[in-house]
């Protein structure tokens, strides 16, 4: 009565290095050299013309800036958590090209249904940094009123949904949203993010099935970052890839090197164009790697030796894009420094503001439970306000 043996105790299967038996690892995200993975950006910084999305030089620089900004924010927010100034952060270290490449393919009329690791996408669609940082502090200015953990924001104005912790729930909702737009004859696509772990949720399967049956204009964007907290991808599926799951549901799918900005932009644009032509859904598997712990609550050393990250550090999406900029636009360290200084200044300024803002009011706790508070919430609100205050009011 033995199940297949399972161990995370093996070195990563590195692109270019000798491969372990394919059957066991073909779907591993490190396997970005597999034939069916769309790649554009070559190691030397040049682009393969076959799938080149032909970004203008200014577009490339804007995306590079956005990726660097997201990474700098990640570093700063982790530091704030370590200092006890915010309670939590969940970042996208190593996944910047996947997040920004995909969201940059969206058009103004399109919508995004996020997982929890795509604050870069929200910022790209215009979320003011101050508003994001207010959410990180859960203060009175936080538009979700300090009710959710940090990194659980919303941004309706930017056509960006509401972050929720339960895994997978946004996938079916995105299908319904996109489907409604189709029923109303509105020409827009809906991009939904989720992780490799989420493909095991029932929501993922229901979502693909509905999207296939009703030809829904949705783009499923799976960030295959190799891990669901401590659980590696081979424990999520015994399929060779996550993309191949689309076949069963009649949803065309594609695998892309998620650390290659150009390749991600290309497949995401194609998927949105398909949706716009009325051809229905696409499943994108972006092969990337979570270079950080799952969140600030996680210590990855408990399940992943640091050396496993080395090959992925060499595939760092920002470094790769920088090589391209160097080659094509003579990018300099001085230009990097300029970005760094500018981002540092804006982030510091936002933090300084957010940190001084008071916690949300006691009244706010009882708002939005219903459109109008019923008698029992009014009664409880008044009891709370009339009662004594606890220690540590407003969070530690």
């Amino acid at each position: 009565m033995s199940t297949a043996t399972y161990s995370t105790d093996r070195p990563p299967n590195v692109s270019g290095a000798s491969l372990e038996p394919q059957a066991a690892v073909a779907r591993h995200p490190l396997d970005t050299c597999a034939d069916d993975v769309i790649k554009v950006l070559r190691d030397d910084g040049s682009l393969d013309p076959a799938h080149d999305p032909k970004l203008a030089p200014s577009e490339v620089i804007a995306l590079y800036r956005a990726m660097v900004r997201v990474r700098q924010l990640d570093e700063r927010l982790v530091a704030l958590q370590r200092q006890g100034r915010i309670g939590f952060h969940i970042g996208s270290l190593g996944e910047e090209a996947a997040v920004l490449g995909s969201v940059s393919a969206t058009r103004p009329q399109d919508w995004v249904f996020p997982c929890y690791r795509e604050f870069g996408a929200a910022l790209w669609r215009g979320l003011p940094l101050q508003r994001y940082i207010d959410n990180m502090f859960g203060n009175a200015n936080d538009t979700v009123k300090g009710r959710q953990m940090p990194d659980h924001y919303t941004y309706r104005e930017g056509h960006f949904g509401s972050v929720s912790s339960p895994i997978g729930t946004q996938i079916t909702q995105a299908v319904g949203f996109a489907w409604a737009a189709k029923l109303r004859r509105d020409e827009l696509a809906t991009l939904v993010y989720f992780g490799d772990g989420a493909t095991s949720s029932s929501d993922f399967h229901s979502a693909l099935n509905f999207a296939g049956v009703f030809k829904v204009p949705v783009v499923f964007f799976c960030r295959n970052n190799g891990w669901a907290i401590s659980v590696p991808t081979e424990r999520q599926t015994s399929s060779n890839t996550f993309a191949c799951k689309g076949v069963a549901y009649g949803v065309p799918a594609v695998r892309v090197d998620g650390n290659d900005l150009f390749a991600v932009v290309k497949v995401a644009r194609d998927a949105i164009a398909r949706a716009a032509r009325g051809e229905g859904a696409t499943l994108i598997e972006a092969m990337t790697y979570r270079l950080s712990g799952h969140s600030t609550s996680d210590d990855p050393k408990a399940y992943r030796p640091d050396a496993w990250l080395d090959p992925w550090r060499r595939l760092d999406p920002i470094e790769r894009l920088r090589r391209h900029l160097e080659r094509t636009q003579g990018w300099t360290e001085a230009q990097d420094r300029e970005i760094e200084v500018a981002v540092d200044a804006e982030v510091k300024a936002c933090i300084a503001v957010s940190e001084k803002v008071a916690p949300p009011s006691l009244d706010s706790m009882f708002e939005d439970v219903y459109a109008e508070p019923p008698w029992h919430l009014v009664e409880q609100r008044e009891q709370l306000k009339a009662g004594p205050r606890p220690k540590g009011h407003g969070g530690r």
């Binding site: 300090g146 009710r147 912790s165 659980v231 424990r235 706790m365 606890p390 969070g395």
Partner: protein
């Protein structure tokens, strides 16, 4: 007797039972190599291997549905749901299947498992890492619900839960996972299900509480004692079926009843307790029973200490009731 925290005591119970009974398997998200996000299953993977300590795909209904099947075959599965807040994908399997298997098959297919899951607030977890959903399971006939407040009870109640013939939801108050420490008996140690514990004897007010809020109730009771009011504090331990005799016996002596819980007030276990006290001890009551609970809102992030029924809210209730 070794000193342990809750995490260590639960780990000790699992290890003990897995050594004793080869049918016991543990399964869930991150429970294997890393030993769970709270490290409750730490070391079990190394000792028992991946046939018995199983990292599963990310699917709660998969975990519980498969565990039910394993149990029907004759194993004793102990699934872990990473946070009680994420149990809902498995709710159908628990409510429609697990709870009704024995009944709907005329006793032919008892399906027995213990679902372990961390509950409660106090770790800055916001909506989805803080909830206390006991009432949603108590309301389902066929399920037993347990919530320990200290390491020895955690071990003893978990071993009893595993050996009990009925399915058990085993709620672990994560706020005190590491904060609650105490002596834990070595080896085989059980605490019977269905028995509450009088943690602090008293004669003016009966306080019924469980899990992490026990310590808040004790804190409030000690402060009240400084003002001459002696509370009897009862740790319910098994939330359902609960130890009605201990509760009613106490209320008949004190005539005053307060129940404290983190979950929202309306239709919580406190509501059921108040109803039972009214039914069984009405003529002994000196004051209307009180519920000191979480509010009827989702669990907030920044204001969590305002939401929780901490001692600063329990003490005034005690004083007011004593003066009534």
């Amino acid at each position: 007797m070794p000193q342990m925290n809750m995490v260590q005591a639960i780990n000790d119970a699992l290890r003990h039972e897995m050594r004793r009974d080869s049918r016991v398997v543990v399964l869930g998200e991150d429970v294997g190599k890393v030993g769970g996000v709270f490290r409750v299953t730490q070391g079990l993977f190394d000792e028992f291997g991946d046939d018995r300590v199983i990292d599963t795909p990310l699917s709660e209904n998969g975990i519980v549905g498969a565990a039910i099947g394993m149990a029907l075959y004759g194993l004793v599965p102990i699934p872990e749901i990473q946070f009680a807040d994420f149990i809902y994908p498995a709710y159908d399997q628990i409510v429609s299947e697990l709870a009704k298997y024995r009944y709907r098959s005329g006793g032919e297919y008892p399906s027995k498992l213990v679902i372990r899951t961390p509950v409660g607030g106090g770790i800055r977890g916001g909506h989805y890492h803080s909830q206390s959903p006991e009432a949603q399971f108590i309301h389902v006939p066929g399920l037993k619900v347990v919530c320990p407040s200290n390491p020895a009870d955690a071990k003893g109640l978990l071993l009893s839960s595993i050996r009990d013939p009925d399915p058990v939801l085993f709620f672990e108050p994560k706020r005190i996972y590491r904060a609650a420490k105490g002596d834990v008996p070595d080896g085989d140690y059980t605490v019977p299900l269905g028995q509450a514990k009088v943690v602090r004897p008293g004669w003016h007010v009966t306080l019924v509480v469980w899990g992490a809020m026990l310590y808040e109730a004790l804190d409030a009771a000690n402060q009240a004692a400084a003002q001459g009011i002696e509370c009897e504090v009862i740790d319910l331990r098994t939330l359902w079926p609960l130890d009605i005799d201990t509760v009613i016996e106490s209320v008949k002596r004190t005539g005053r009843f307060i129940v404290v819980h983190e979950a929202p007030k309306s239709c919580g276990l406190g509501a059921e307790l108040v109803a039972l006290v009214n039914e069984k001890a009405f003529l002994h009551l000196e004051a209307p029973p009180l519920r000191i609970t979480g509010f009827d809102t989702p669990f907030p992030y920044t204001l969590e200490n305002e939401y929780l029924p901490l001692s600063h809210r329990i003490l005034p209730a005690i004083l007011e009731m004593a003066r009534y």
